[in-house]
């Protein structure tokens, strides 16, 4: 058994996150699915750092965490402002540009 199993777990988590983005309709849950995909990629980076024998992968995972934190702050603020104007957190209701 080699560290490849971590990569397989990461692939499964990423797939679950992608399916969640496609299936769920609540904007916040969609956002959480994106976070899950980011976490899966982080696990891949950490595992590759171990396979490669260098810490660069861990540093990259650290940067991914920083970007994810900034993204969550701005994204949740956008969701809050959309909810304030349209009284809904569903991604189906934000269709003003559709027609």
């Amino acid at each position: 058994m080699t560290p490849t199993v971590y990569l397989l777990l990461s692939a499964l988590l990423f797939t679950i996150g992608a399916v969640g983005v496609l299936v769920r309709r609540n904007a916040i849950v969609v956002f959480m699915c994106i976070e899950l995909m980011l976490n899966a990629v982080n696990l891949t980076l950490v595992t590759f750092a171990r396979i490669n024998g260098s810490l660069d992968g861990q540093v990259m995972a650290f940067f991914v965490m920083v970007v994810a934190a900034a993204e969550v702050v701005v994204g949740l603020a956008i969701i809050m402002s959309i909810f304030r104007t349209r009284r809904s957190a569903s991604v189906d209701d934000s269709n003003l540009l559709k027609y």
Partner: protein, 286 residues
């Protein structure tokens, strides 16, 4: 480097090439937990339950990082992700999305089925690709001096960030500042100007009769012989404007100010003209 150290390094690398029994046990406990949390997040009807399932997944991943010789990232994962980000999600959920449950209506017909098929396809593709591509790869492990050896994981990561990755690190500071400003701009609500009537709207509303009287209440002391609040305003004919009487003074000390009220109203002793002279004050001996 002496031969003993070299052989020791090689031995340590050999240990890290394959997963030890303890690590395998931890993986087979934490990995299914992470998968269970991810699946629960997708299938939970309540959004708060989704967030809690995701917390479970992120905690498992943090423990997996620590197992994989990344203790710094493991702690950052637990503190930042489960401690800060997920709690932020829960705050927003409690304010916004808790009662707005997911709509069961499919806007695009057959979207869930297609999404499930695509998900299974992607999973099979990724898993087979990774499993077939990495069979012959021998992991180096993190025991080298540039990795977890030497000064240890945290110091080596810090040195790497502040030397090789210095410019991206500085860029993240700009990113964080931008995100903070953006969140403040998006979250700001101007409560003071919204809903306040303009002067013209207020005047029209007054003359439509939406208020008690078209003019504002007269202030106390207008045309009075004294600047005291107790002195009522006088109407142009010299009588006391009843709206200008202070309610407190009117109720509490009516007897006390009776003489002044009578003097101003002209019913009692008339006010003397020199009361307007600032050199002679009320209460002074005449």
């Amino acid at each position: 480097m002496s031969a003993a150290v070299t052989s020791g390094l090689i031995l340590a690398q050999d240990v890290q090439n394959t997963i030890s029994t303890g690590e395998a046990v931890a993986f087979w406990v934490l990995g299914p937990l992470a998968l269970f949390g991810a699946l629960g997040m997708i299938f939970a009807k309540n959004a708060v339950h989704s967030a809690l399932f995701l917390v479970l997944t992120m905690l498992s991943l943090g423990a997996l990082y620590m197992i994989q010789q990344a203790p710094f990232l493991g702690f950052v994962q637990i503190i930042v992700y489960t401690g800060a980000i997920m709690m932020l999600f829960l705050f927003v959920l409690m304010m916004v999305g808790r009662d707005s449950s997911d709509s069961v209506v499919e806007v695009i017909r057959g979207q869930r089925f297609v999404a499930a098929v695509l998900g299974v396809g992607v999973a099979v593709l990724l898993v087979t690709a990774v499993a077939r591509a990495l069979t012959t790869v021998t992991p180096i492990g993190l025991s080298g001096d540039a990795a977890n050896g030497g000064n240890g994981n945290v110091e080596n990561i810090g040195r790497s960030i502040f030397t090789d990755w210095l410019f991206p690190f500085e860029l993240t500071s700009a990113l964080l500042i931008t995100a903070a400003v953006g969140a403040m701009v998006l979250g700001y609500v101007d409560r003071h100007t919204r809903g306040r009537k303009t002067q013209r709207e207020l005047v029209e509303a007054r003359f439509r009769g939406e208020h008690d009287r078209p003019s504002p209440l007269p202030g106390p002391g207008v045309f009075a012989t004294s600047s005291s609040v107790a002195t009522p305003a006088l109407l142009p004919d010299g009588s006391v404007a009843p709206e200008s009487l202070s309610r407190l003074i009117d109720s509490a000390a009516a007897e006390e100010f009776e003489a002044e009220r009578q003097a101003v109203a002209g019913t009692g002793a008339t006010a003397e003209g020199r009361a307007l002279n600032p050199s002679t004050r009320e209460g002074e001996s005449q």
